[in-house]
Amino acid sequence: MILDIIISLLILVGAAFALVGSIGLARLPDFFTRLHGPTKATTLGVGSVVIASLIHSSAGTGGVSLRELAISLFLFITAPVSAHLLAKAALKTQGKPKAGRTH
């Protein structure tokens, strides 16, 4: 019962952050600011859902389900790399911006 509530809350939190990430993607003004929404949303949004899944499957079997931890590990390793490559590609096509305000 209490576990169900915790799991539900975690899923709701995860969904909320995924939603905010998508809103950011739609609302933010330019490419580089748009990078911020999705990179953050995947970390906490998916992270929360993964923890919910971990609690759910661990409670079912009695043991700790480590598979979810592996998923989050991969996510945390790959999210910065994809953001970095996207940014690099944008630099190549749009030219190198000088340090300082973008607007």
């Binding site: 905010v20 990179t39 590990l73 910065p80 305000r101």
Partner: protein, 165 residues
């Protein structure tokens, strides 16, 4: 080069691959363990020419402290970015910032760039290792020098301590 170093160029990676494979495998059978060992030995061996030297962990315990700090910062970062994204956009002050770094090791520099990408409203755009500059894009900057100081003090200093460079 000793025989062991030739067969296992990256012993840590080997262990991580074996561990991860066993975690992901549906059942901890002997067959799966054998497969894990084969992958754990062959993948580092095949990819060894891509690995930039092996940085030594000088203080592993400081690594755990940094990990905890980064996880905490990620949660704060999400909260912060969520507020900025939903709030009025004309108050955003996005900027490109050049952070001077003095890390020579490519692996450690990559770690720093990844941490910066995962934490408060900042994404690493490029690393210029020749000039020792990490190009960062920040979603909302109040004072540039403050952000640079935060990155250097919160993440770069502990990383240098952990890897002793």
């Amino acid at each position: 080069m000793t025989l062991l170093a030739r067969v296992l160029p990256q012993p840590t990676i080997t262990l991580v691959i074996i561990g991860l494979w066993m975690v992901l495998a549906s059942s901890p059978s002997l067959g799966n363990l054998l497969l894990a060992v084969i992958l754990g030995v062959s993948i580092p061996w095949i990819t060894q020419s891509f690995w930039p030297g092996r940085p030594q962990l000088a203080r592993p315990l400081a690594g755990i402290a940094l990990f905890a700090r980064v996880v905490g910062d990620i949660i704060l970062a999400n909260w912060e970015v969520a507020r900025l994204v939903v709030g009025p956009l004309d108050r955003l002050r996005p900027a490109f910032i050049d952070v001077p770094i003095d890390i020579d090791d490519p692996f450690v520099a990559t770690l720093l760039a990844s941490i910066v990408s995962l934490t408060p409203g900042t994404v690493s755009v490029d690393i210029d290792r020749a000039a020792g500059i990490l190009h960062v894009h920040a979603l909302n900057v109040a004072v540039e020098s403050e952000l640079i100081a935060t990155i250097k003090h919160r993440y770069e200093a502990p990383l240098k301590e952990i890897f002793g460079c």
